[in-house]
Structures are given as C-alpha cells and as structure tokens.
Amino acid sequence: MKRAFIIICALALPAVADEVKKAATSESSGPSDFSRARYLGADATPTRAGALEGGATSIAFSPDGALLAQAAPTGAVSVARIADSDESTGLWHRTGEHLGAASGVAFLPRKELTLVSVGDDETIRTATLDASLATVTSASRQLGLGPLTALAVLDASHVAVGSCRGQIAIVKLEDAITVEKTFERHEGAIAALVALDKNRIASAGWDGCVKISDLGGREIKSAKVSPVELTTLAVTPDGKSLAAGSWKKGVTLLDASSLKTLATLETHRGCASAVLLVGPAKASLAQCRLVSASLSDETLFASDVLGSKNELGRTRRTRIKTVPSGGLAVSPDLALIACATNDGAISLYKLEGK
C-alpha cells in the first residue's frame, strides 16, 4: 500500500500526525551500509502471455559473474551484461519465452553459455547463447507435472524441477530433454529446490516441510519446519546446512543430514521471501553470512558471518524500493547481491563488511 495514502488521508490530528510522519520517513534500523552498485531496468518487451505485472521470480549470475539472468512473470527469460547497466533500459537480451510466468532460471555449468528455465506453462526450456547473447540453439519440453515452480542445477546436464502439485522431476538436458525420474514429494507446491551434492536434493514445500531426497526419488529425511507455507531454501557451499524461510517470521537453520533445527533467526519483521547463505567455496554454515529479503517489511538484510554460535552479529538492512518478489542472488565473487523488486527492476547491492 502506498505510504502516501495514509499520510494524505490521516494527517490532521497532531498526535496522529507525529506518528504518521515518523512511520512515513522511517528507515529500518541498523547502519545503511548497503550501497547500490547498479540498477537494471525491467525487460519491458511484450510477451505472448499477456499484460502481466510484477518483478522477476528468479535471478541468477553466470559462472563468471559477468551476466545476470532473470525469469519474469511475463514469461520472458532474459540476460543482461552487468557492466552495460546504468539506469538504462533495453539492455536485456531475450533468450526465451514461456507461455505463462517463468518461475526459475539458472546457468548450466558448461563451457558454452547455456540457460535453463521453467515456468507456469509446465515447460522446461534451454537456450545456448553466443558471445552477443543471441540464442544459438534452444529446446523445450512440457513435463506434464502442472505449472513448474522450482529449479535446481545438479550438474552440467541434470536439473531438478518442482511443480505446484508437489512433484519433483530429475531432468537430463543434452541434445534432447529427457525426464529420468518423477516422484511425489510434498502436499502442495514446491517452493524451492537446492542440490546438496551429486546424489541428493533438498526441497521446501507449501506443506511447511523440508525434505531430503536422492535422485532416484527416495525420501531420505523429512521435517516439518513451519506451520505455514515455506517460501525459500538456501544451502551452504559445503552442502551441510540449510536455511529455510516461511510466511511466518524467522529463518530456520537446519542440519542438512538430520534436518535438526540449529537456530531460528529473525531477520525481518515478517516473512523472509528469499534467503541466501553467502560464503566461499566449501564454506560451512559458521563461515557464511545470511542474506534475506522480505516482501513483508520490504527490506534487504545481511548479517555478519554467523560463526559457530549461529549469531547474526552486526546486521545491515536497507529499504527496498518496492517489494522483493523472491529473486535474490549472489555474484560468484561474493561482492554483489542482486535483488528483484515488484516494479520489474533488479538492483545490485555491494555486500560489504565481513
């Protein structure tokens, strides 16, 4: 709700006016040491899915950190060169289009630049790009699992895909797109998927559960983490710990083997819509920083390195222009955080501090 409304409407009684002014001008607590490095305008080119609004549902850095990809609610899958961006529009290169919201996008760890995306049209798509970011080859396949809601890269030729009906598919992406395994896992939609190692994935569902599965579809472990729907799931670089956000307050840190709760940290006044565990290669939970964004309190948050006691330490917070819709990503050099907002734009913030 626009803040202006309440100011205009209510501003009259002195006692109320003071509170209204205070609320209207307040920034979140904590030092403002998030500085915005870049602003990438929306990919405004129309798509066939109709006039759909909202911000990117998923964003991803390329392995070299030079590119950023976004999946948009319009169905567009686009790539931009980060260095090109400077409050300008038209820098997005359209690489593909879903006939419905695109809900997940990722770069495959291959020599050639390859994007994979999933969407509401029940389809998984791949696109190989040349140096000019033009699409050289593309492929797509409808999986028949209902609208697709989550995507995780397993290796250069495999991904895991989640659907709104609680199913997970292991999909092989080579010349042809092949479904290797499909299994039922959650009651309701899969909110997020992450790869723990070569053989295991973790999933977060609208049933409030985090589940560990092997790629053969066997459920290894399950834990009810929240009484309401989960929103997001992140994994540490060593694959041994998880962070789950839900529509309730608090981010739950979990041991990725036992799914035992290690800590619950309150990073926002309301839900955490997107969460990252940021650390160098092979970093453990203690070596990671917790970064999160919330569409409840409209802030981007970052902690210090959590340490062995899983404490937030010095926290950083900044108000986000509109509302994060779930898209949050960290650059490979850990220097930048990309955050999508509901106006369709993506902002890059410097992740300073320790």
């Binding site: 709700m1 529509w247 309301g270």
Partner: protein
Amino acid sequence: MKRALFVALVLLLGTRVQATQEFSPEPILTTTAENWERVELLEDKSSFFAKEPFWKDSRRQLPDIKAGFAGEAEPSSARFLLHCAKGWDRTDDKLPPILLVHGAVVDATKSWGKDGFLGRGGAGLAARLSQVGRRVFAITFAHPHGDNWMQAEQVANAIARIKTLTGAPQVDLLAHSKGGIAARLYCSSLRKPGMTPFRGDVRKLALVGVPNDGIDVAFAYPNLNYWVIMQNANAALCWTEALVYGVWTDLRERSLYDATEGGGAFAGQAQMLKRWDTVYGLYESDEQFDTVTTYNGGKGKVSNSLGIDHAIKEGGDLIAKLNKAGVDKRVAVALLAGSKTAIMGFCGERRGPSDGLLLVRSALATDGITKAGARVFRRDVLKLSHVELVYAEPALRWIEETLGP
C-alpha cells in the same frame, strides 16, 4: 433485500422445496453488444428477490450493460443479463454449453469480453472458448456486490434458460472470485425457502480465484480502506468512520455492514468473510494504523470498525455453511489459485501465498467442497494475480483444458 429479512428466514438444509415458479425463461428485452451476439434481460418475479441498495460507484454504468438492463443503473436483483457469445447456437458442439459467472465489482463484459480489466484482457475468455467450438454464455448480476443467495438463484435461472436455448441437459460452470460463491450455493444442498434445489444440470464446476474458505483481506489491511477512499474504488470499507483529510468522516453508507448499521450496499461481501488471523496473524507494518481495532472492532487512532466477527455474523457465516453443505456429488470440481501478490500496481495480501487479494489456501480449500461427495479433479496454482486469473494466457489455457471432455 434487507439483510434483516434473511436473518428471519430459516435455512432448510437438505430439504426439497419447489423451484422458483415465477421465472419466465423468455427475455423481457434483447440487445446486442460488441462482445456478445445477443444479450437477454431476464426476470424472476418471485418475492424471494428484491432491489438491493447501491453505493454510487457501484452502479451499472458500462453502456452495453446499462442498455441490457433497459437503461437502469440500479436494477433490481430480480433481473439479470444472459450474454450469448458468438456461436452460442452451434450444433456441432457435443460438450455442455459453458456459463461464465463474474466476480464482484465487474460484469460479464469487463470479465470475459475484449480488452477487459482496463484493456489488459486481450481477446477475452468468451471469444477464446467460442473459437475452440464451445457454446458460451455469461451472466451479469444486477448488483456487483449483491447478495449471494439471490445470485445463486439467478445462476439456476440462467442455466434453465441456457437449457431452453440449446436443448442441452447440462452446462459447465466457470466462476471467478465472488461469482464462485453463488455457483457453489446452487450446486449445494444449501438454500432458503423458494430457492431451486440443485437439478443435477452442472457437469463441471471450475472455481477460479474463489474464496472457498473465505477472505478477510479488507479487515487485515487497514490502509486498504484509505486506498478505496482515495481511488473512489467500487469496493466496500470495513470502517464506519475515519479521519479523512483531517476530518472524522461517516463511512457507514459504503461499509460492508448491513442496513441496520447504515450500510447494506455490499451484502455479498460480508457473506464471504472468514477469519484467517489464526493461521497467518495480522499484517505488521509501521505504515498500517489501527491494525487490531480494524480487525477486531473498536476505535483506533484514525478509524472506527465494527470488526470482522460482527460482519461475519451479519453475513450469516455463509462460508461455514457452504463448507458444511459441500458440493453435490454429481459435480466434478476444479480449483485454480493465483500466487502473485503484485496486483494493479501495488503489493496486496502478503501474510501468506496469495493472488494479491485472496489467500491460496482459501482458493484451493477442498474440505468444504467434497463434504457431499463432489470430486475435485484438478487443483493448480499459477503465478498470476487475482485479476490476471481472468485473462492471462496460462489461466485461459487452464480453463480451456479443464472444461474440455
């Protein structure tokens, strides 16, 4: 219809009563419109119906709708429009004809016609379904926020008219938002004296963005009241008075409370209410004032509210009754929810997954639907807002598939 009259009526659960005898399945006026080959004005003279009060911004002002109602901007709820899309009389369609039931605020043209929802709607669902060979009809209720009991009876009457026009024994029902409550009511055993019992003439019931387990967004987000005031929006308030431009202003006339509280123009809204604070809590924000008093009732810093429990009681706790009754076992039900909070330029309901207005859990709730044996054969979520569910390509595709063979 004054809500007080309803309170006096006894609900006859499961009792067979006579169908409304006064409905004449012959139009009293037939017009044409850009989106429709034929628009019929139909009337049921039963005393069950009444003229409901209109808030000034709720009047039927769209030219083809107003013309369809014989120039009346505030028609009696005894009347409704039946819109016949191109190809409604085709003989090669072996599937049941489709009846589209619109939600609150809008009408058949805005919902299902070309360029609906401020031009965003594209060709529209009616044209889409016609193009794939279906016989398509749509209803426009007299009142955009009207009593759901009366609207359920008009759904029954519309189906009767479609059966007369086409000779088909059954229809498929597609309802959006509030329209789903009327559609569910007809397909249930729940009725008041004089209402038509379900006749087994619905094959499929597709409920798109329908508050199957109720809604409380108007009470959960106090600032929504200010938004409605500032936008002159065709929507109900849950405040009875508020500080507007520095002056305490009487808002009862546009509130969703009943006539005894000075309201009465949004009867159907109060009937859809249910508390969701027990699941998701109340929305906490420095920018929202009077959160607790708006929800639970009382005077806050900038507003006065009678509270959601008061409104639920005035609405007869219809959601609880619907969920107790279930949908008739002869009906196959499909549910579609949206999960994008961005709606019409702002971020709406965000205590849980929602389409900006309606929580996904409510839209996908099946317990109350399956109580009487109805089967839910499809249940999906698309990343769309409440209004996009009506016109966005993935929703149209879902509807087309769902209402297929």
